[in-house]
């Protein structure tokens, strides 16, 4: 029979709590990385199509958002079935509200195509970075990096802005997702 004092018992409990935190974070990363890569692929396609056919850009981005929300829900459902983990159905609902608020901002602000291209990634990544303060620093690093690169693109990249954003935002989300799954 093991005999330990209160200090050793407290240390053992602290070890347990640390491991439980890491397991939870790893499970959040598993789910989020899939959603991130899905959005990355959609956004990358959205920017390329917007560059090639600027007149279709408005419809393209509506389609990207609709497919993105549906995909987020599908990935969540898939993960829930596979792992018996509770996927919070409020997540896609929150995403819908978040998108609605974004569209309202764009409408009230009378944004042009360039402003829209800058606004959406910064809007997404700000919320993403804020979430990272609770769920893991990978979120903060990815979010802040994409915001910084978006602003650099706005200031320094001229007519190639959509292609810059395809690489930075679309590529950044895909690479971020892969980075979260590196283990």
């Amino acid at each position: 029979m093991s005999n330990i004092d209160a200090k050793q018992a407290a240390e053992a409990l602290s070890d347990i709590e640390a491991i439980v935190r890491r397991v939870r974070q790893s499970r959040i990363y598993d789910l989020t990385s899939l959603i991130l890569m899905q959005w990355g692929a959609l956004v990358l396609a959205g920017y390329i199509v917007s560059y090639l056919w600027p007149r279709a850009a408005g419809w393209v981005w509506i389609a990207v958002n609709v497919v993105g929300v549906a995909g987020t829900f599908a990935v969540g459902t898939l993960v829930r079935r596979r792992s018996a983990v509770g996927f919070d159905a409020r997540i896609p609902l929150a995403l819908l509200l978040f998108l609605a608020f974004g569209y309202l901002n764009c409408y009230l602000g009378h944004f042009g195509p360039r402003e829209l291209g800058v606004f959406w990634p910064i809007y997404f990544m700000t919320v993403y970075s804020i979430a990272g303060l609770w769920v893991g620093r990978a979120f903060v690093i990815i979010g802040v990096a994409i915001i910084a690169l978006t602003l650099i693109g706005d200031v320094f990249v001229g007519d190639w802005f959509e292609l810059w954003m395809a690489a930075v935002n679309g590529g950044g989300l895909i690479l971020g997702g892969l980075w979260m799954r590196r283990d």
Binding site: S2, I4, I16
Partner: protein, 102 residues
């Protein structure tokens, strides 16, 4: 009366059981993921998983995913129960409850 489980009490086995217990019942962790979470070496982790398996606290399933072998470790119901009792004992020790006589 605080009564610690000698099998779970070992630091690495405690971490293994804590990680597996954090999952929903019936779900396991792959060996490589468990290794990363606990910071253990292959040999050390394998040996301690074997000890837990002998005590029927975990099950070990080996399968092939594509061409890659994959080992999954899952806490059993008795393992979860033993872990819960062990944690309760740790809390009792902190609260000043004397350890059980052997």
């Amino acid at each position: 009366m605080a009564e610690l489980d000698d099998i779970i009490h070992q630091p690495l086995r405690l971490k293994i059981m804590a990680a597996l217990n954090a999952l929903p019942e019936g779900q396991g962790l792959e060996f490589v993921r468990l290794k990363k979470l606990t910071g253990a070496t292959d040999g050390n982790l394998g040996a301690h998983i074997e000890t837990l398996a002998r005590a029927a606290y975990v099950t070990v399933d080996k399968a092939f995913v594509g061409k890659k072998p994959q080992t999954t470790v899952t806490a059993t119901a008795s393992g979860r129960g033993a872990f819960a009792r062990h944690v309760a004992s740790l809390r009792e020790i902190i609260a000043g409850v004397p350890p059980a006589e052997t």
